[in-house]
């Protein structure tokens, strides 16, 4: 019996989340006909409890459960990230003016369900569980993207998301099956350390005879991650889905879902190529995977930034910007070093503050003006100065200028890129920063440089307060990033 109880303890956060998800569903039924806000508060409280459990785990020795789940600091970092972003997203849902707050218990259930998927994704070395987690996240996301099914854009977004998601999941599954066929195991650590003496050949054995099958499998599996992170050429869904989905869902997709993709990718690469028992020929192969990622990074950020310049909808613009940021993050991943991974993780933390802030602004302004076109922003800064100043701070951070956390994150990425000798890549990234300034500051221009149209903006003091807090943190951690960096260092994979 104990053999089952101990691992269950290790799974406490997952179990709690599951209970919370079911609870949300039941609660909504019990609240029949009344305000669903209560379910939102319930979600927030459960998230807080999960967060406390997770916080207490930081620094513990890694343990394994059921032979599939690894409970380590790396996973805990991304779980905390997910919980923290979900909490903000829940607040977004609660303050969304476009949302009827009746009978939307499923909203919270699906958000929590997606979180469970992420939890599995980030804490496993086993490709089967990884795939299941990914599917759970995807499935919940499809439904969330189409939550306003009466609206054409939302329905279309969900449809596109399903088609692209199904395709990339299939491709990834194919890749995984190839890996399984080559190595006879789905466990990444096993895969990396198998010498290839036993049959099947194993990764090392296969690489010594021919790298082609491994390369094919790699590319296919990476496609699955690329889809979650919206890396070119698997980014086509991003702008449409971001635009069509309800803004809180967009926020979730842009922050938590993308982070899950990054985390899974880091763990995949880390376990396969950078672990302690990795065969040397496999580790060498990792370097060429790094080269591929570097190319993807350059293409992704350039395409994302160039496309963002032409957008007229704020949400689409942020969608392309999030594609570009996926490219920046890939710089850290492409270095294939522990320090590079650390930089990528730090950048995710930076990304959390600035993107939640930016999408929060979108939600605020969409709720007050009923449109998300950049034109409609004219002179908004004089009508709602507090959140507009906050938005400018987020834009500065997204561009990567001091004194914000985005700058420090970018600094770390550039540094690791240069340290790994990828000068050309950092050069491309630097030029991209300049390009991104152009479109980010188009928003700032609309906010403050244009004369305001008449009419006033209704106030939402609590929500504005949340944005103000994010803004202050963006600057505070930009000037004193040590706290976050230390935290990230405690949660490294390698």
């Amino acid at each position: 019996m104990d053999a089952y109880i101990e691992p269950l303890k290790a799974l406490a956060p997952e179990l709690l989340l599951t209970a919370a998800a079911l609870g949300a569903l039941v609660l909504d039924l019990l609240m029949r006909g009344r305000d669903s806000r209560f379910v939102g508060y319930f979600t927030l409280v459960s998230l807080a409890i999960v967060a406390i459990i997770l916080m207490n785990r930081i620094g513990d020795e890694p343990t394994a459960a059921f032979g599939m789940v690894v409970v380590d600091n790396f996973g805990t970092f991304f779980k905390l990230f997910t919980v923290a972003s979900l909490a903000v997203v829940t607040i977004f849902v609660l303050s969304d003016r476009n949302e009827s707050h009746h009978h939307i218990g499923e909203y919270y259930f699906l958000l929590l369900g997606a979180a469970i998927g992420i939890f599995f994704m980030v804490s496993t070395n086993h490709l089967l569980l990884l795939m299941l987690g990914l599917e759970l996240l995807s499935l919940a996301s499809y439904a969330l993207a189409g939550f306003h099914k009466g609206e054409r854009k939302s329905a279309e977004a969900a449809m596109k998301y399903v088609v692209f998601g199904g395709l990339s999941a299939g491709v990834m599954l194919y890749g995984i099956s190839l890996l399984y066929g080559l190595t006879g195991t789905l466990d990444l650590v096993e895969m990396a350390k198998s010498t290839g003496e036993a049959m099947p050949a194993g990764l090392a054995g296969q690489l010594t005879t021919s790298a082609v099958p491994v390369a094919l499998a790699m590319v296919l599996v990476l496609a699955g991650f690329a889809y979650k992170m919206s890396v070119v050429p698997f980014h086509f869904w991003t702008p449409d889905v971001y635009e069509g989905a309800p803004t809180p869902v967009t926020t979730f997709l842009a922050v938590a879902s993308k982070a899950a993709g990054v985390a899974a990718l880091l763990r995949f690469l880390g376990a396969l190529f950078l672990g302690p028992d990795v065969q040397s020929v496999v580790a060498e192969y990792g370097a060429s995977v790094g080269q591929l990622l570097a190319i993807l990074a350059a293409v992704t950020m350039t395409l994302g930034n160039l496309s963002a310049m032409r957008q007229t909808s704020l949400k689409r613009l942020l969608a392309y910007s999030s594609i570009a940021h996926a490219g920046y993050i890939l710089i850290g991943v492409a270095t294939m070093t522990g320090a590079g991974f650390e930089a990528a993780m730090f950048y995710m933390a930076a990304y959390y503050f600035m993107n939640l802030g930016a999408f929060g602004f979108v939600l605020y302004f969409e709720g007050t003006l009923g449109s998300d076109s950049i034109e409609a922003l004219k002179g908004y800064g004089f009508k709602a100065p507090l959140i507009s100043i906050a938005m400018v701070t987020f834009l500065v951070s997204l561009t990567g200028l001091p004194p914000t956390i985005g700058f420090y994150g970018k600094y770390l990425l550039f540094k690791e890129g240069l340290d790994a000798g990828m000068y050309w890549l950092v050069g491309v990234a630097a030029l991209n920063s300049v390009v991104s300034l152009f479109y980010y500051f188009r928003i700032a221009k609309m906010l403050f440089l244009k004369e305001p149209a008449s009419g006033s903006v209704p106030r939402q003091p609590l929500f504005a307060g949340l944005l103000a807090v994010l803004c202050v943190l963006t600057i505070y951690f930009g000037l004193l990033p040590d706290a976050i960096q230390e935290f990230v260092r405690n949660c490294l994979l390698i």
């Binding site: 299941l132 919940a140 066929g181 006879g184 049959m199 050949a201 021919s210 094919l216």
Partner: protein, 175 residues
């Protein structure tokens, strides 16, 4: 011989899958899907997973597909529904791209398959041992218990998502 059967079954499955997306009539789509499942079941049989093959036929082809057909016929979704969206034309425009991607993938797979450092019969036998029912249960509720449970959450989420999508839309701000 085995090779020949395998490839023809594979080809059959692909053609069936193409039929699912190109057919104008939903009933035809469902029947194509049925055919695909059947081919896959045969593939399972061919590599020695008897139980999976039977389950595939029973559950997918037998139960689920019949339900599909039932729903479609009950709701009387004839060709009329699809009339405003010419699938064939839409497919036609994208056909070159689809073919390109498909053929590249196929070619790469074949190329890769030729270069796989041989798997011994011993290893194959090892993999096949999962074929029996007891072994399957052992694997499902032992080794992969967690994955099994995760899959159950996945199914629950799927159910809720479908209920949510199917339920009548309430007007916004109907306070």
């Amino acid at each position: 011989m085995e090779q020949l059967v395998f490839y023809s079954l594979g080809l059959g499955a692909v053609i069936g899958a193409l039929g699912v997306v190109t057919a104008k009539n939903p009933i035809l789509s469902v029947l194509s899907l049925l055919w695909t499942f059947f081919c896959l079941a045969c593939v399972y049989l061919l590599i020695g997973f008897e139980f999976l093959a039977v389950a595939q036929i029973l559950v997918y082809a037998g139960a689920i597909m019949v339900l599909f057909l039932f729903v479609i016929m009950l709701l009387n979704l004839g060709t009329s529904e699809a009339a405003d969206f010419d699938t064939a034309r839409a497919m036609g425009r994208r056909l070159p791209l689809v073919l390109l991607v498909g053929c590249t993938l196929a070619a790469l797979s074949i190329l890769a398959a030729q270069q796989v450092g041989g798997t011994s019969d011993e290893a194959r036998a090892d993999l096949r041992s999962v074929g029996s029912l007891t072994d399957l249960a052992q694997v499902m509720f032992g080794t992969y218990l967690l994955a099994f449970e995760a899959a159950s959450i996945l199914l629950l989420a799927g159910t809720v998502a479908v209920v949510m999508l199917a339920k009548r839309e309430r007007r916004k701000n109907a306070a």
